[in-house]
């Protein structure tokens, strides 16, 4: 593991493995989770994988600059905003349909068991 982390003299490969794993986990969750909140969490994993990647490239390939770090901060900020909107939608969704299981959200909802409160 240690040699992996320092492969190429800077550990870039190891970081790429980490972020790839993180991203793949996110995709896996995105495609398989049935709970909308779980999907949102998985999406956050993907975003974070990207953010880490930005930070890593910034630190290892262009140490004198801050572009990558700034982008990572952006990603964090956008993700936070997205969570706010997403969670708000889920709360409303739950109050309407009594579920956040995405497989049960087909149709226009008028024939669903929950119905409007």
């Amino acid at each position: 593991m240690a040699e992996l982390l320092h492969a190429g003299g800077s550990g870039l490969h190891a970081w790429l493995l980490v972020t790839s794993a993180l991203f793949s986990l996110g995709i896996y969750g995105l495609l398989t989770r049935r709970n909308a909140v779980g999907i949102l969490l998985s999406l956050e994993l993907c975003l974070n994988a990207a953010a880490v990647q930005f930070a890593v490239f910034n630190a290892l390939r262009a140490p004198g600059r801050v572009d990558g770090a700034v982008m990572a901060l952006f990603v964090v900020a956008v993700a936070a905003a997205e969570v706010v909107v997403g969670m708000a939608l889920f709360v409303l969704l739950y109050s309407q349909r009594r579920t956040v299981d995405v497989t049960e959200l087909t149709g226009d909802g008028r024939d669903s068991a929950g119905g409007p409160p």
Binding site: I27, L30, L31, T32, I39, V102, T103, T106, G107
Partner: protein, 658 residues
């Protein structure tokens, strides 16, 4: 003085333009608001046009240099279609004796028919429509007559056919009228195909000649009548290599042109539409199917006579078809019951006379050409008068069946007198117009070396007298054979006045030296009466009258006995030699079954089938893919990612390989 000083000669285009403008104005603006004004505007414009054409004829004759032949003028012409140099189609007004004559005849008869229709069509639902189409017809006919080239003639020719279609089918709620209008359109359209092919053939051949002539051709275009009439062009056309079956393009083109002309002029065997065209309003029959439109074919052959004369055998075909039609139609006319139908067959027969006269020019002597145009001129007046008289009878008695009429001379004295005059004119009794023109045709046949044609023509003259006297006697003499006939009344003044004007024209038209004016170079000009022709025709006509008088004036049982004696011949005549039935058999049994049915099968099975097959396949493919459309965003995301993975994989593989 010269033609430049004559305003109407310079602006002859006004004469056809007036009815066209009136057609647009009446059809689009006036008709929706006032039917009364529609009729008035239409009639006034054509009357103005007629006045202008008389002025045109006057100026045209007045300014001609006296000793020479009347000139051919082209005062107005504008580029219309340009295919290439030498094949430019112009629209213009060609003034020569024949076209000026026709302009006068068309506008005069049309104006009188418009006037007559004002009363005759009163109260009809389509009053405005009727007058608009009548105007369109007048414009088209004038455009045809004034055409300086074959293409303008063809376009107007088709317009004439279309207006005729609209007018025959004027009462489009009557199945018989609809059938008749379709029949007229299909038959004449079929013939017009010949005209169109002839234009293509002659245009191609004449264009080649024009290229050879080079600068000698001047500004004349390949399809101009002026170009096609030049002797060097005709010689070059006649010496071209044969194109089909040993015929040169010239001969084949002339035969096809004659096919078009025969369709419009209802020559055998394309005559079947004209008797049925009587389903239209009677003034239309008078204007279109007797006086003007049907002479378009004669006019076409007369206009293209130099071509026909240069083509091998073309005029012989014209002569044979014309002679046969004259005899055939006159014989049928003797047995028909409907007044208008008898007049229709009489028209066929008279058109046969005109074609016959043109055909006698095959010996190189163009006398028959003058005779044909002269007969066209006189026939227009007396035949229009006969039809308007028949219309007055129909208007009063509500039937055209001569066996239901009878005794109408007492309630309708004016109509009776005018009809009698027209009957005498068509039978060729001196001094009425038919005598002069018919004698000139027969003289052309006799002196042109066609004694057999002369004999047939003489026989037709006798038949003409017989059938006209027959319908005249059955309609106006004896006792009314039906209740409605007994209550008939004289036609209103607006109907009698045009008939009176036509009667004057029919009486004096024979004294107009038309044949001298329209004579082509080399034509023998007749002066005075040719006794060798006049005596036999008059005797034959009187015999025809006498026979009709014996059969139909007194005891009608005699006519039945005569019909029974004739037996099979009478039945054949009465059924018009079953020509209609033959056509139906050929179209239904042969064309429909052997040509149309397989094509329909191919269309339904192969063409439609392949299209349906594509549709079915698409639907099946859709049903197959439908299962993938779950509505689950995650499933779509999975597909999308699979796609991304594939693309990335491909790129990677490509990078490895390259």
């Amino acid at each position: 003085m010269s033609y430049a000083a004559s305003a109407i000669v310079q602006h002859a285009w006004v004469i056809p333009a007036l009815p066209l403008l009136s057609f647009l104005a009446v059809g689009l603006l006036v008709r929706p608001f006032s039917t009364r004004w529609a009729g008035g505007v239409a009639a006034a414009s054509v009357a103005l046009s007629a006045a202008l054409s008389w002025w045109l004829a006057f100026d045209y004759l007045q300014f001609a240099s006296p000793p020479g032949p009347l000139p051919t003028l082209l005062p107005w012409q504008t580029e219309w279609l340009r295919f290439q140099e030498g094949l430019r189609i112009d629209a213009g007004t060609l003034l020569d004796p024949a076209s000026v004559l026709l302009v006068v005849v068309v506008t005069t008869v049309s104006a009188l028919v418009h006037l007559y229709s004002l009363a005759y069509m009163d109260g009809e639902a389509g009053y405005g429509r009727y007058f608009a189409i009548l105007n369109l017809f007048t414009f088209s006919m004038l455009g045809l007559v004034l055409a300086p080239n074959l293409v303008q003639m063809f376009v107007c020719w088709e317009l004439v056919g279309a207006s005729s279609f609209f007018l025959i089918g004027f009462w489009f709620d009557r199945p018989a009228a609809v059938a008749a209008s379709k029949k007229a359109f299909v038959v004449t359209r079929f013939a017009d195909l010949g005209f169109l092919v002839a234009i293509l053939l002659l245009g191609h051949a004449a264009f080649d000649v024009r290229q050879q002539l080079g600068a000698a051709a001047g500004d004349l275009q390949a399809l101009d009548f002026a170009f096609l009439g030049r002797s060097d062009v005709l010689a070059a056309l006649a010496s071209q290599a044969p194109v089909l079956g040993g015929m040169t393009a010239l001969t084949l083109g002339c035969l096809l042109l004659f096919m078009g002309g025969a369709g419009k002029s209802a020559m055998f065997p394309l005559h079947i539409w004209l008797p049925d065209a009587m389903e239209g309003p009677t003034p239309v029959s008078a204007l279109i199917h007797a006086a003007t439109m049907v002479v378009a074919g004669v006019y076409l052959v007369a206009r293209a006579l130099p071509l026909f004369a240069a083509a091998d055998g073309a005029l012989t075909v014209v002569l044979l078809v014309g002679t046969f039609t004259a005899l055939f139609a006159a014989a049928i006319a003797c047995t028909q019951d409907d007044l208008k139908r008898v007049l229709a067959f009489s028209t066929l027969s008279q058109l046969g006379y005109m074609m016959l006269a043109l055909g006698t020019c095959d010996g190189g002597d163009p006398t028959g050409h003058s005779a044909a145009l002269f007969h066209l001129f006189t026939h227009a007046f007396f035949k229009a008068l006969l039809f308007l008289g028949a219309g007055a009878v129909l208007h009063a008695a509500h039937t055209g069946d001569v066996w239901h009429l009878g005794g109408l001379r007492k309630p309708m004295p004016l109509t009776h007198a005018l009809f009698l005059l027209a009957t005498l004119a068509i039978a060729g009794i001196w001094p009425l117009s038919g005598f002069f023109s018919k004698d000139e045709i027969l003289a052309a046949a006799l002196h042109g070396g066609h004694p057999l044609v002369f004999t047939v023509g003489l026989g037709v003259a006798g038949l003409t007298a017989f059938y006209m006297a027959r319908v005249y006697l059955l309609t106006f003499w004896g006792q009314p054979r039906r209740e409605a006939t007994a209550h008939a009344h004289e036609a209103p003044l607006t109907m009698v006045l045009p008939m009176g004007a036509l009667a004057v024209l029919a009486a004096v038209a024979g004294f107009v030296p038309v044949s001298r004016w329209v004579a082509l170079p080399g034509a023998a000009v007749h002066t005075g009466i040719d006794w060798a022709v006049a005596v036999p025709t008059t005797v034959v006509a009187l015999v025809g009258f006498a026979a009709a008088g014996w059969l139909y004036a007194g005891d009608l049982g005699r006519s039945e006995a005569a019909a029974a004696r004739l037996g099979r011949l009478y039945r054949a005549l009465r059924h018009k030699f079953w020509i209609d039935e033959v056509y139906l058999w050929v179209t239904r049994k042969l064309i429909f079954r052997l040509v149309a049915a397989p094509i329909a099968w191919f269309d339904r099975m192969v063409v439609d089938g392949s299209m349906h097959g594509v549709g079915v396949l698409t639907r099946l493919a859709g049903a197959g893919v439908q299962a993938a459309q779950t509505g689950q965003a995650q499933a779509y995301a999975a597909w999308a990612l699979t796609g991304v993975a594939l693309v990335v994989g491909l790129l990677w593989a490509a990078a490895r390989a390259g």
